[in-house]
């Protein structure tokens, strides 16, 4: 298997998977060994280049490969724990990294041996990410980093983090940033769980105190951090699927179930709200499906922002009504003690927990307010908000 071959088609890939499985019995292989071998065979992410876990295949052929491995009972690479690594860090490393950086980070990232996290948001820089204040100052071959990051998923599991820091406070805000990979085990990196209103600590704060990052852990040029970060965030967008989304999926599901199972709680007013939310959810479902069809047809529409605004609202309103339907039980709460959940399973939780957790849906990953700006400006062509922060040195901005 060499890198000079023509890109493999689906049939070729199926053959290679079969051959690989014949050579590596999922039953008997040590999982880490198996995953390393799969990476080496180019069957990790087949659209990546040969030598970096792929075979240069066309996009869209991965699904069948993954399905074949799953069917054979092959070990998994911790995809939910390493969602930041696989979804955001890897494509950024591939796009902006040097050969040495590719070799250094991609194999253990894909196998799940190293979990990654993302050090972007700060207490003072949320919607306005480019206003971030964490500083990186050059000192010989290193950068010395100081600052505080927040909303960092998986930081307590992570070996590596992707970091945006300010390397030139004299430059306008978007132009003074650089992008690094930070060793989360390095001295000066402190990870603290960030307790949220549900009682749990799903996210982290990361404090960076005189953390030294060698310059060979920089991705992209000095001062180009904003462009690199934009590429990372572009990969954050939730893929809205082809295929049929089930009716009554999402927050309306447990609401409708409770409605059916508890006729004693029915009132005319609540019935009207129930039906409105059902209709709105069905409308949102069909909208998401239509968006998926557009994307599949090569007509990417701007509906994604609208879908996110809508789901956030429906999650909030459905869980609020569901809580209300519970009556007295809606005043109880399972457990506010501080815990660290691994992966959230919304469906198994009480309506009260969902009501609280879903408040964040209209904030995380782009607030509904920012998304309305996006729709108004990019879709409807309305003038952008006046801003005075684009050509001013970052250090002179009001904060």
């Amino acid at each position: 298997m060499t890198s000079t071959d023509a890109p493999p088609d689906a049939a070729t890939l199926a053959d290679r998977v079969e051959q690989f499985l014949a050579e590596h019995d999922p039953e008997t292989s040590e999982p880490a060994e198996f995953l390393r071998a799969r990476f080496a065979a180019g069957l990790a992410w087949v659209h990546y280049p040969a030598g970096l876990g792929g075979l240069g295949a066309a996009n869209g052929l991965q699904t069948a490969v993954d399905a074949a491995f799953a069917e054979a009972g092959a070990p998994e690479n911790r995809p939910r724990l390493n969602v930041i690594g696989l979804g955001m860090a890897a494509p950024t490393i591939l796009r902006f990294g040097t050969d040495a950086q590719h070799q250094r980070w991609l194999p253990s990232l894909w196998t799940g041996e190293d979990i990654w996290c993302q050090l972007f948001s700060e207490p003072g820089a949320g919607s306005d990410l480019a206003g971030l204040a964490t500083s990186a100052v050059r000192d010989g071959d290193d950068w010395v980093v100081n600052g505080q990051k927040v909303w960092t998923s998986m930081a307590h599991h992570a070996r590596w983090g992707i970091l945006v820091a300010r390397t030139d406070p004299q430059a306008p805000k978007h132009r003074g940033l650089s992008y690094f990979v930070v060793d989360m085990h390095a001295p000066g990196v402190e990870v603290r769980g960030l307790r949220q209103i549900t009682g749990e600590a799903e996210f982290n704060e990361v404090f960076l105190t005189d953390v030294r990052i060698p310059d060979d852990q920089r991705l992209g040029e000095v001062g180009q951090g904003w462009a690199v970060a934009q590429y990372t965030l572009m990969n954050e967008r939730v893929a809205i699927g082809g295929g049929t989304v089930p009716r009554e999926s999402g927050a309306v599901g447990p609401l409708a179930t409770r409605w059916r199972e508890h006729p004693e709680a029915h009132t005319p007013g609540l019935h009207d709200r129930m039906l409105r939310l059902w209709v709105q959810t069905e409308a949102a479902r069909l909208t998401a499906e239509r968006l998926g069809q557009q994307q599949a047809a090569g007509q990417p529409g701007p509906e994604g922002s609208g879908v996110k605004i809508t789901y956030a609202r429906l999650n909030q309103e459905c869980s609020s009504l569901e809580l209300e339907l519970r009556g007295e039980d809606g005043l109880r709460y399972p457990d506010y003690s501080e815990r660290r959940p691994e992966v959230e399973d919304y469906a198994s939780r009480d309506a009260q927990w969902r009501y609280l957790r879903f408040r964040a849906n209209s904030i995380e990953g782009g607030t509904s307010e920012i998304l309305r700006n996006v729709v108004a400006e990019r879709v409807l062509g309305l003038p952008a908000e006046a801003r005075a922060d684009k050509d001013v040195p970052w250090k002179d901005l009001p904060r």
Binding site: T244, V245, P246, R247, E248, A256, W259, R260, P263, H266, P268, H271, D272, M274, L275, R276, W278, V279, Q280, E282, A283, A284, L286, T287, E289, R290, Q293, Q294, A297, Q299, E303, G306, I309, T310, E369, L371, R372, N373, V375, A376, E377, V379, L380, G381, L382, P383, E385, A386
Partner: protein
Amino acid sequence: MTVTTPETGDLLYSDVEEDLRASVRALVEKQAPWDAVLRRTDTDDSVDTELWARLTREIGVAGLAVPEERGGAGASWREAAVVAEELGRAVAPVPFLGTVVATAVLLGTGEDELLAAVAAGERTAVLAVGATRGAGRPLPVTVERQGAGDLLAGAVTAVVDAVTADVLLVPVEGGIAVVEADGDGVTRTTVESFDMTRRLTDIAFDGAPARVVTGGDTGKALRVGAAILASEQLGLAERCLADTVAYLRERHQFGRQLASYQALKHRLADLWVAITQARATARYAARCAADDTADLPVAAAVAAAHGADVALLAAEEALQLHGGIGFTWEHPAHLFLKRARADALLLGSADHHRSVLADLVDLPA
């Protein structure tokens, strides 16, 4: 109950549909710009019969869902829905919605001669039921029979698109009575209507000769009508949004484009989001009608409930955001407002459609 998820089918517009849209839009923009539509509302000549003639004869809009072998274009309700979008965008005063419902009834009967004439635009037919009758409601019975021939007696009020109809299809016990609209014993009175671009008709029957036929499913025809109406509402809402965006970009107050005020931007963004949903629900309802799927009752109710709310929101926001000028007779905003407000009652209100859904998806009161 387990909720099942029917296959969604294609929610996009085909190239054929886009071509059809372009043809309809070009014709309507030329023949019935909004100021012509407005002027017509002040006359007794409330239907644009010339536009209707061209729509049916040049483009064939009345026969889209009729098979070729029965005299139609052999397309489907999907394509008819695209026509409805364009006619809604223009609040065009033509009897398309009435024709849709009548055609859906006739398709179930053996009345192929009449069906072909309707499909060709040679005659227009309408189902003689009150405008607010939603799918599933009991239909008014207005017939008496005598001897060899059937003679109708009774009255139906507020019938849509009956002003220029040639043939009335009157639901009676045992079937559908086919009646010549200009025949003996039929009195039509045009109503001063809230929406003067689609005037209603009160119809009295006093010994009107009729022929009762079987096979027409009025409940299903009204569901198809509700599905197509949702596309009309979509087109209207899109027009309201587009007009409002254009106005806010052009109008300045306090030295700034109105379009630059964030509170207005967010309202328009929310409206745009609602319209993307109306598009998806209307497309799905049209697809269920086209393929006659078992989910049509749900799809039509969702599309009608959502479409009514969105069109009314769009028209009300358009009026508000145009400020004083939108409150004047000589501006089109009120044409859309009145159509949207009336459409929200036509074939059943959003409230009615939600109560229909309660039964269909097992969410009882």
